[in-house]
Assembly symmetry: C2
Homo-oligomer: 409 residues x 2
């Protein structure tokens, strides 16, 4: 007898058959006595179709009107799901974002939720109805329709769960949970039963694209237990919660990697205050996002400074760096696009020494040269040559025994 918020993505509601499948799934939870709030995305492909229509009409579609257009996608799926539920005898009612009254700021296309009105949903739940709410959309204080940006339906689900103090927020996708790493690279990759919010944030931002980062942040902030499951396959999925005291925690939860990075180095810059800003300032001004940053003191009074950017920004960043190098009187500038970043993530790192050493030894044993290292509280990342990606990930997966149920320190 719990209150569960369930979110089904575009693939899960991508056809009439799939919508009916979701209805039966919802009914099975209802039959177990649970109260349910269901959040839906638009049918897969629909949002892209609408964006395409918009671009045919206006080269750069008006932000306010784009949200009016795009928000029709979920409005269609919520109505269809309620019909499907009623068809199998489950009482339900649909709400658009404005109807729930999910109040957002006025940043069209990427609005942020300010508050959620609870009363209408609560009344329906009390009267035994399933509430079916449109994800991704809200309304600003002037009554304009807004959308939360790509993947915003996850955020809607978590926000509704937080507002209603739901027992769990379940995100149904086309994968059956969060894995220790990409199973396409390591066939032994294992689905995690549990993972902490912080680990999930590190894994998500590093490329395991299962959940929207904002949704995970939100869930963490409001302590909403979040579960990722498959809408097509039965199973427990992966539960994302806070670390609980006394639990057996794995040392390392997963290994993430990112293929689309490039690395730039400026060599022999004077080692003096403000030099990092003088190097990265112009890069930021050009709207280029910098990921890893490493600075080494050189032999003389100079320093070498290395950072990574998205591979698409490499040429632009290199040009800027070359002109910075001239200004600073640097010795040289070089770069490499054939690199990848690999990160091991785990809250166990906080309390256990030697993780980095294990990592570096495993890579050294395979003669994989480490080009860059960066560490945070629960993550250690290395940059290696692109050609070593698969070997490195498999080596680390096995070194940390991730194919086994629990890796103890």
């Amino acid at each position: 007898m719990a209150l569960i918020v369930q979110k089904y993505g575009g693939t899960s509601v991508g056809s009439i058959e799939r919508i009916m499948h979701v209805a039966r799934k919802v009914k099975s939870f209802r039959d177990q006595g649970h109260d349910l709030v269901v959040v839906l995305s638009a049918m897969s492909g629909e949002t892209n179709r609408l964006i395409d229509l918009a671009k045919q009409v206006q080269s750069s579609p008006d932000a306010r009107e784009l949200d009016v257009l795009l928000s029709t996608g979920e409005q269609q799926t919520i109505a269809l799901l309620v019909m499907a539920l009623k068809q199998i005898g489950v009482d339900a009612r649909s709400y658009t974002g404005p109807q729930v009254r999910i109040l957002t700021d006025s940043s069209f296309n990427k609005a942020r939720i300010l508050s959620i009105e609870e009363s209408r949903m609560r009344k329906d739940l009390d009267e035994g109805r399933v509430v079916v709410a449109a994800g991704f959309q809200g309304v600003d204080e002037n009554g304009n329709t807004t959308t939360l940006g790509r993947g915003g339906s996850d955020t809607t689900a978590v926000a509704l769960a937080a507002t209603l103090k739901a027992d769990e927020c379940q995100i149904y996708t086309d994968v059956d949970g969060v894995y220790t790493t990409d199973p396409r690279v390591v066939p032994e990759a294992r689905r995690l039963n549990r993972i902490t919010f912080e680990e999930m944030l590190e894994l998500a931002s590093l490329g395991s694209k299962v959940l929207q980062i904002r949704a995970v942040e939100f869930a963490g902030k409001y302590n909403v237990p979040l579960r990722v499951l498959s809408s097509f396959k039965d199973g427990e999925g992966t539960l994302i919660t806070y670390e609980e005291d006394g639990m057996e925690e794995p040392l390392i939860s997963g290994i993430a990697f990112q293929r689309d990075e490039a690395k730039l180095t400026i060599l022999g810059v004077p080692d003096e205050p403000g030099v990092a800003y003088r190097i990265l300032g112009p890069i930021g001004d050009a709207n280029i996002e910098v990921d890893m940053i490493v600075q080494n003191v050189g032999a003389d009074d100079t320093t070498d400074f290395t950072f990574t950017v998205n591979r698409n920004d490499y040429e632009k960043a290199l040009k800027i760096l070359q002109s910075t190098a001239e200004e600073l009187g640097a010795r040289d500038v070089n770069g490499d696009v054939k690199i990848v970043k690999i990160s091991v993530v785990g809250v166990g790192m906080r309390s256990h020494a030697g993780i980095a050493a294990t990592m570096f030894k495993a890579l050294a044993d395979e003669r994989i040269n480490i080009r860059m290292i960066s560490t945070s509280e629960i993550k250690t990342s290395v940059v290696v040559d692109e050609k070593y990606l698969e070997l490195a990930v498999r080596t680390l997966h096995s070194a940390f025994k991730l194919e086994q149920e629990l890796t103890q320190a």
Copy 2:
């Protein structure tokens, strides 16, 4: 420098190209200095596509949810038109029915407008924006989305025009105005420059399906000058207004006909009070709509009673009538499905005698037998055998000289 409400139907916004065509049309009015409120339908075919989806999910789609689903159609076209307008430099803003706040009752699928909030639209107009509003939809006092039923966009346009005290409400369709009769039957049929609300109501209800009856009633009630024009062809269209004193009015405005009627007669029923109710009561109880009703006193103390129904209801009505005949001790019951109704309509009838005589003589000259006659203040209808339809309509069109610009008494 007028305030004009324009409504474009589904065919007029049926593709991206057509939406851009509408945008250019709107711009040309804007360039003339007019203030504009544009009301749109969904793209042609979209509403049917959505209804079809709904029926795949629920055999008899839930009325509330169907409105949530259907209202997405216009929401898409209004956003796209605003983008198209902005693309050509015309400032505009879209409003859904709930956003305008077109308050309706809660009769989903066939809601009636209760009130319209003027302030947001007025502010946009004052600031030089074109207001683009979704037709067909509104919101009830509980915040539920409602729709006005098929063709409801015409009603929205007229209601907005009434609220804003617009100088004219222009309905753009795929015909270029109201004709004296169906040009497919009478090639000489002429577009009317003007017609009164009452004539339009009689013509519309009799089968000239240019405008929604409710919209015409609404326009008449609030005295909104209504103009029907083509969105594809330039021209003045047909202006629908009140009769103005001193104007040269045509005697007859048009000839309507209806092919899908059937006629039923009960013969030799006792001529006593309450008999009409005893005959038509059971017909109405069976949800069969009765059109013309004629009662003749017979030779003895009995009477013959004839009425017409939609041809689809003929079998059902005949069965009911047969059982009524037994109860009443009537002599016989007969019927005919091969009949048509032809009506001449004109406010001139009010003040001019002899219209009916001219009509009957013209038909007699062609040896067309009249099976039934019914008259109202501005309309005379006859029922004739189906095979005479074309001949009868052409004969009357020519008898009343409708091919000429003005028919004087």
